[in-house]
Amino acid sequence: MSRGYYVFYSRDYESLIRGGHNFNTLSFSNEPIHSNTADIDILVCLDEKTEEMHKKKLKKTSMVLSGEHGNMFFAGQLYKILGIEVEVLEKQMKKLKNFVENMKEAFKGYNSEKRTLGLPKINPNAHSSIRFMNGSQAIVYGALKSGLDFYYAYPMTPATPIMMELGLAQLDKNNHHKVVELESEIAVINAALGSSLVGSKAMIGTSGGGFDLMTESLSLAGMAEIPLVIYLSQRPGPSTGVATYTAQGDLNLARFSGHGEFSRVVIAPGDMKESAEKTGECFYLSQKYRIPCILLGDKHLGESKETFENQIEIMPSINSITKPERFNSYEADSSKDKIATESSDVIKKNMELRLKKQAIIEREVENLETHKIYGNENSRTVVVAWGSVKGAVLDALKILEEEKTEIKFLQIIYIEPFSEKITHELDKARRVIVVENNSTSQLSQLLAEKSQIVVENKNKILRYDGRPFLADELAKEIKRRLR
């Protein structure tokens, strides 16, 4: 980064505390980069297992750093290969304990290495305003800018980084929010509703299993009309599934959870900037319309780190509940102190009021960034995706462009309500290809329901092994569908 490169890195770790095989994949470029690729240029092996496990992805030109050395030896070697002066490493390591011994090792590594990649020199000052964040940090940024008062949670990967980031942020005197861990996800959502109904801004975060526990109370938020922001960070299910890996299997869960019919907003940010900004929109919409807003993310978005230059713009925050009020889980009569009712007139009237509210929310959301178009706008071949898959699709598109294949990419951000503009966009397409991290293509189900578009099975690119899409592999997959 300090050399002026754009960086994307993702983490692959197992659900254990010590041991196992954990690795990070780092990609960098002189142009913005949003994902990793499958092939490896440099493999740094901190143990013997690493080389064995990643052998298959090595090319003839790949460099492998291995042997019985410490981390800092490899760091020195790596700096030499990348053509970065060892002094830069020295500067970065200054804060570390055992600095002198560590640097000794690094110098050894640096001096022993003879290879270099010969990377082009670029101007490190070209983008001095660059940010480097993971999705979780971006969400935290958005929540704090929106005036978060309480974050309630029960630890669950991959939502926990939010709890940790917000927890640490309590040490900053400029922040006033509190992070509260309670006995279960059921307690978490109800405590958040309790704080919210007396006028505080509350947010909760969990993954699929914890969200399942919350859904009765999600319906309560819908009935009683209490604002709430819920971060649902997906991992592979069903059940406990694969705790520390990524998936997009909970689109339908976010859309359909909770009994009865009530309004909700479901937003799926696709990158770091969107993660921050859509969190702000969740707070804004949930307060304005007193509804639950679900921010739908996943492990890959929440824990991968990316550089970006664009400014983050957070929607102005509002407070809906400013005086003591009465709320009811029963259908209740608003003209009579919110007393529970069984009157057919009131039941019907209330349901119609909720439907009317839904229509108003739909209208407002049409003015927001419900979707984005990338690539060749005139192409009648459209790749559709949502959430963290965006990064790999953008990079795959770039690979295809270099091969003179220019297609359109439609990123859906607002799942609920679903913009009519997306339907118009899809109506223009001759071929729709979906890319998703699940096995049943829940996005295709969404498009069928909302836009009456049937995606052919052969045009569904689905990955459901817990791993994120990789740009080079995805480009090949898309290309296969273009024949």
């Binding site: 008062d149 309480f150 309630y152 509190k178 509260v180 309670l182 006995e183 279960s184 059921i186 307690a187 978490v188 959502i189 109800n190 405590a191 958040a192 509703l193 309790g194 704080s195 919210s196 109904l197 007396v198 006028g199 505080s200 509350a202 009765e216 109370s217 309560l220 009683a224 003591p324 009020e325 009465r326 709320f327 009811n328 889980s329 029963y330 209740a332 009579k336 102190d337 007393i339 529970a340």
Partner: protein, 280 residues
Amino acid sequence: MKEKNKMKTKESDKKKDKTFNVRTSAQSTWCPGCFNFMILAGFERFLQNQLKLGKKKEDFAIVTGIGCHGKMFDYINLPGINALHGRGIPISIGMKLAKPNLNVFEFAGDGDSYAEGIEHLVHAARYNSNFKLIVHNNQVFALTVAEPSPVTERGYKDKTTPQGVKLKPLNPIKLMLAAGASFVARVFADVNQIQQVLEEAQKHKGFAFIEVIQPCIIFHPDVDYKQHTYNLADVKHDKTNFKLAMERAEEFDYDTLKSSTKIPLGIFYQKERETFEELV
């Protein structure tokens, strides 16, 4: 003249009383003679007293669960929420964290507190969240017509248990003591007892657990509790002594009453410590 003056004061009294009216316009739908009326009247008197002492209605909030007791929300005109079954406690905790000065009174049933939401009860005691929980214990699921609850005595029969309940009931007083509740009390559904215990609970800084024995006159009518009760204050019970509190709690196990059964009423245990709101 004197008579006229008297009339005047009476009228102004009436006006004054109106400002202390804490009821909604709802017509009560409890069974005639239901002991819930006693709990409602006791809370109403407590509230009116608080308002007379200078507190405002906005200083109070109520939370209720689901069951016959839940209708308290419809009858008392205070801000708050009629929550989900068993989930009132975390709502109260969230309200108190957001507004520590708000006096939150939660009414719940034995189903809410001892069945569906028992984990919240245990943790509320552990956290010492500064709200007051009043459990209407009628030892039966009344609103769903007569199924046994975790505190129903052995041998009790209804359509779902024609051969009688076989499980030993839970002793909530012991549970609350073990969980670290800083105020543990049991009263009978009697207006004065309710008012008095609420006043004590209001003065207590921290979580207050108040169980009210409230016989259901329709589904659980054949038990004459009153013959068995005695007041802990009358025997000079030391409410700061945890061991003694446990011993008193063991006197009544919620099972079928024998002629020798004694049911202690009043405050079993009270010891203040830092509240959740102070610690979080």
